[in-house]
């Protein structure tokens, strides 16, 4: 029995679980891990469907009656995109991020439904093509089924092959009398599959039975692998896209400006080339899988190898191979002997996945905002990322798993293969933006264009790094799991890792896209932070602004409020750690084990050390600053900032030290353990920071503001503190851990030169740490999530704590009192009872804009009035005042519908809410 093929009759998992006796595990089972080609097909479909939304969008502009005025609206809103509303009002991060969408949303819902209908029509046409294509093929080729009447022996033999392959439903075998090459073809639709046998192949039934069997089994293997539906559906979607979207778009573009037409056209050509080349690349991989599957069913590859050897070598230059759906015969023959080619990580495969993930990102984002304009900016991007990122992560992740498995079995270093995959994914993610069709409208070249050179380069590197990090993370987890599961199917573990990586990539890709879109508004948003820095700097010492902004910036404040981000950070270390402590954890052959004990100890030390430092800080502040200064609300904000900054700093130091020590000792998961240490420390710090408030109330020498010896912190303050410490700390700990790992490598190389191996100072643990240590990071994680998600773990404050997050100071509005230990809190009034003085900050801004609109009704131009109306709508949307939201929306509707009664009625409501006297 050939060692590269499983014995016939055994399933793949059985084969991989029972290697031949006396032999090391030297053969690779390509079916032990899932293939990424299905995900690549889906990714192609998603990219094409996503690109079609652009076409339908443009067709609406050209064909719909309302479309003629759209372009002017688009250009006006695009110019305003990323800017804050007029009047110097701090609209906040969410407003800035949604600037463009909020501007166009009231007018775009009809277009959204048009686009949805277009996509639905595209899918319907694709379905019809898939359904009727087999019948068309049979008619066109005058294909006839082979029956027992014609050749009973042949038909009986084909039935045997179908049974040997384990197909649940036999295909229909057809003969193509016009085709004289000794080949075949698999085609069909779900529930009805066909295998076409060329006349030249049928003759081999008599002249070369083994060769006949090999070719037919190859075609049957396509059915066994599920290739027909995926391939033909993908092609159908492509042809439907061409007919339903591309051709009409090309017609409409004829009348457009040359520059714009050219910008769209070359991008379409790139899309066409990308889809075609990727399709061929995936098909070439599926051919090798079919060869290997056929070989594994037969248990012998000699007949297939002989047939492959008879295939002529394709003529023409090497690049033409990219245009063919079959690999060169020599590669196929080598693969059935040793299927290593199915395990090598491909840069282009990963790059294609990244490209497909972002080339249609903007299209779907726009559609989502058109349909659900009220969606939060980051939530919208996450929803879009959830469509594409799992597919891209899946492709890259499976490639990484295969590369690691290949390296372990062949005794090769896995790092290079996974680095190639990571770099490819990152580069693909980067290129998708400028190659997307919407960039033809905006003129943006992604991060490089819209951000300026230096910021663009940083953004580009960040995105490439994101791809590389995700793949590196998958590889680290795979390396942890693979030694424990080499003797059985790996699909479950691969799936778990891929799902987790998908979540990670979705979260961070969404954040990245938001930050890029926010960049034009960054100066204004940073101005908010700078203003608070200046104001608080007048009260007491503040660090340089660049350090201040690392803790206190509107963008960070916006991000840390997203619980999903916390989940993303926890997932980053939880999954790889779980891989090491899976039920059958073993030490690798190199004797390395993760030093979880070190990470936990460092986290505990950092956390409790912080507690001591905070108490010391309180004592110093109490001594250095007079009570009058300490009683100021600005000082409370400043002191809170110092505590958070100190916590982040200690987490950074902890992460650096742990990662350095682990790497120096050649231990695995250095960066992961650094994150664990930081998180453990952060959880303890949060608890001690809040506990110190109680201590301050009990011991005057440690108090900032005199107060009762009891718990006074509100739930929202506790959540905010936890978020700041844990999220900011983890974010800072990530690059710190990498720096620590790099430092550890340096130390290790120096120690290797200076110390004998036996007495090297950073020897790793020989045995894995006790599983009970896992309870420490898991307990920290559970406590943090419980606090963040429910707040139920918190003791009730001694007064009724109702205020939400700290209001952000602005250059316009003075600082509001903050919920410190001693601020008395008013019972929360119902919205209807709120007097104008009790309106929240956004409501006040909306009222201010309304006053300006009333005052300038006779003097301001239409555009300025429209800007003010949009400002009112935006600010009302972000306030907690529902009557204000309703009145603002009603007034806007009255204007849009040219309904003066509706407008006047809602204007009167606004007068009442804002405390304005008069009509």
């Amino acid at each position: 029995m050939d060692r590269s093929c499983a014995p016939s009759g055994r399933t793949d998992s059985e084969a991989s679980s029972q290697p031949p006796e006396g032999s090391a595990r030297s053969r690779l089972d390509p079916f032990a891990l899932p293939s990424a080609t299905t995900l690549r097909f889906i990714l192609l479909v998603a990219a094409v469907v996503g690109a079609s939304t652009f076409a339908f969008n443009f067709l609406y502009l050209a064909l719909a009656p309302e479309g003629s005025g759209e372009l002017g609206l688009y250009l006006r809103c695009q110019a305003r995109a990323g800017q804050l509303p007029a009047g110097g009002i701090t609209g906040g991060v969410g407003t800035a991020a949604k600037g463009f969408a909020d501007c166009v949303a009231p007018f775009e819902l009809a277009k959204a439904w048009w686009i949805v209908a277009g996509v639905a029509f595209l899918l319907l046409v694709a379905y019809l093509i898939t359904w009727w294509r087999p019948a068309y093929k049979i008619w066109r080729g005058r294909l006839r089924p082979l029956t027992a009447e014609d050749a009973s022996e042949l038909v009986g033999y084909l039935d045997e092959l179908v049974q040997a392959a384990g197909l649940r439903r036999a295909p229909v075998f057809l003969a193509d009398l016009s085709a004289r090459a000794p080949g075949g073809l698999a085609f069909g639709r779900p529930g009805r599959y066909y295998v076409l046998l060329n006349a030249g192949l049928i003759t081999k039934f008599v002249t070369d039975r083994a060769g006949f069997r090999a070719v037919v089994m190859h075609e049957i293997a396509h059915l066994r692998n599920g290739d027909v539906t995926k391939a033909y559906l993908t092609v159908a979607i492509w042809w439907s896209f061409v007919a339903v979207a591309l051709v009409p778009l090309a017609v409409v573009l004829i009348g457009e400006k040359v520059g714009f037409t050219a910008a769209v056209t070359w991008r379409l050509l790139v899309l066409v080339a990308f889809v075609y080349l990727t399709r061929n690349a995936v098909l070439r991989t599926r051919e090798i899988y079919a060869d290997v599957r056929a070989c594994s069913i037969e248990g012998d590859h000699r007949a297939l190898s002989e047939v492959l050897a008879q295939l002529p070598r394709p003529a023409g230059p090497a690049w033409r191979r990219l245009l063919r759906p079959h690999p060169v015969p020599a590669l196929r023959a080598a693969a059935v002997d040793e299927p290593d080619v199915l395990f090598r990580g491909s840069f282009w495969e990963a790059a294609g996945a990244g490209l497909a993930a972002t080339i249609a990102f903007g299209n779907l984002e726009t559609l989502l905002w058109l349909m659900f304009g009220g969606l939060d900016a980051l939530t919208a991007r996450w929803l879009v990322a959830l469509v594409f990122a799992p597919l891209a992560a899946g492709v890259a992740g499976i490639a990484a798993w295969r590369a690691i498995q290949h390296a372990l079995v062949r005794g090769l270093p896995p790092t290079r293969a996974t680095a190639i995959v990571g770099a490819g994914l990152g580069l693909g993610l980067l290129l998708g933006g400028p190659l997307s069709l919407p960039s033809a409208v905006t003129g943006s070249w992604g991060p490089l264009g819209g951000l300026g050179l230096s910021a663009g380069m940083v953004a580009a590197l960040l995105l490439i790094a994101l791809g590389a990090l995700v793949v590196g993370w998958i590889a680290a987890t795979a390396r942890a799991w693979l030694p424990t599961v080499l003797d059985r199917s790996l699909r479950r573990e691969c799936l778990v890792t891929t799902v987790a990586a998908s979540a990670l990539l979705s979260v961070w890709l969404g954040v990245y896209m938001l930050l890029v879109d926010l960049y034009p508004a960054m100066p204004t948003l940073t101005g908010v932070s700078r203003a608070s820095h200046a104001v608080l700097g007048q009260v007491a010492w503040t660090e340089p602004f660049w350090l201040w902004a690392a803790v206190d910036h509107p963008v960070l404040g916006y991000l840390i409020e997203r619980n999903v981000l916390m989940l993303g950070l926890v997932l980053a270390w939880l999954v790889p750690l779980a891989a090491w402590y899976w039920p059958r954890a073993r030490v690798t052959a190199a004797g390395r084990a993760p030093r979880l004990g070190l990470a936990v100890a460092a986290g505990l030390a950092g956390g409790f050390g912080y507690g001591i430092l905070v108490l010391g800080l309180r004592a110093l502040v109490h001594r250095w600053y007079p009570e009058a200064t300490r009683m100021r609300p600005e000082f409370a904000l400043l002191f809170d900032h110092w505590q958070v900054a100190l916590a982040v700093l200690i987490q950074v130091v902890t992460a650096v030290m742990v990662a350095a020590l682990v790497t120096a000792g050649r231990g695995p998961l250095a960066v992961i353990l650094g994150l664990v240490a930081a998180f453990v420390a952060g959880t303890i710090m949060t608890a001690l920071l809040l506990g110190a408030i109680v201590v301050g109330g009990c011991a005057d020498a440690l108090s900032i503001v005199p107060g009762p010896c009891s718990w006074t912190a509100s739930t929202s303050f506790v959540r905010l503190t936890a978020r700041q410490v844990l999220v900011l700390g983890s974010l800072a700990a990530l690059p710190a851990a990498f720096i620590g790992a790099a430092t550890g490598s340096l130390l290790r190389s120096r120690a290797a030169r200076s110390w004998p191996p036996a007495s090297a100072p950073f020897r790793a643990a020989a045995q894995p740490a006790s599983r009970s240590l896992l309870f420490v990071p898991l307990g920290a994680c559970a406590a943090a999530l419980l606090v963040l998600l429910t707040g139920s773990a918190l003791p009730q404050a001694s007064s009724v704590a109702t205020q939400s997050t700290l209001p952000r100071p602005s250059p316009v509005t003075p600082l509001q009192p903050t919920p410190t230990e001693q601020t008395p809190v008013q019972p929360q009034a119902t919205p209807a009872q709120l007097a104008p003085a009790q309106l929240d900050a956004y409501a006040k801004q909306a009222c201010e804009a309304y006053r300006q609109m009333r005052a300038g009704a006779g003097t301001l131009g239409t555009g300025e009035l429209q800007d003010l109306l949009i400002t009112i709508l935006n600010d009302a949307l972000h306030s907690d005042n529902q009557p204000l939201q309703e009145a603002a929306a009603g007034m806007g509707k009255g204007i849009a519908d040219s309904n003066p009664q509706e407008f006047a009625r809602n204007a009167r409501r606004l007068n009442s809410i804002c405390g304005i006297v008069g009509p």
Partner: protein, 165 residues
Amino acid sequence: MNTYVDDDLVREFSRQIVGRAAPEELPMFRLSTDAYFAAAHGRPAPRWRRDGRDEMLGFGVGEAVTLLTPFVLPVASTVLEYLVKDLATAAGEHSKEAVGRLLRRVFRHGEDPATAAPGGPVPLSAEQLGRVRTLAFEKARQLDLPQAKAALLADSVAGSLVAVR
């Protein structure tokens, strides 16, 4: 088509030829003859040529083989038409039924023993066989069949007739 030569006769004669010259093509013989007669009666041919094309989920581009069946059928028809003329002239018979009976005696094909003409099979003379072979060869070459294959085909045609003796 000659009204004395029906499709069934052509089919059977061709099957014998194919069985000698290219037995590996017998599994698709019925389909091939159906397609041939359908085309002869005006049905359109397949609207594609797949040879040389690298198709999705196929096996790859292989060297095409030369099939004999597409050549056998027109050659067989031509030979049978010649034999009809020759036999009818020699026997002085002109009625379709009589000529058909004579032809079947050449091949012993489809002969109903109850109504079979008296006498055994009618062998062809060496001269007739020679002319038949030449005719088959020329017809095959006319159809662009390579020389070696045409010779094989012609020998098989003659062998199918000789075997009746």
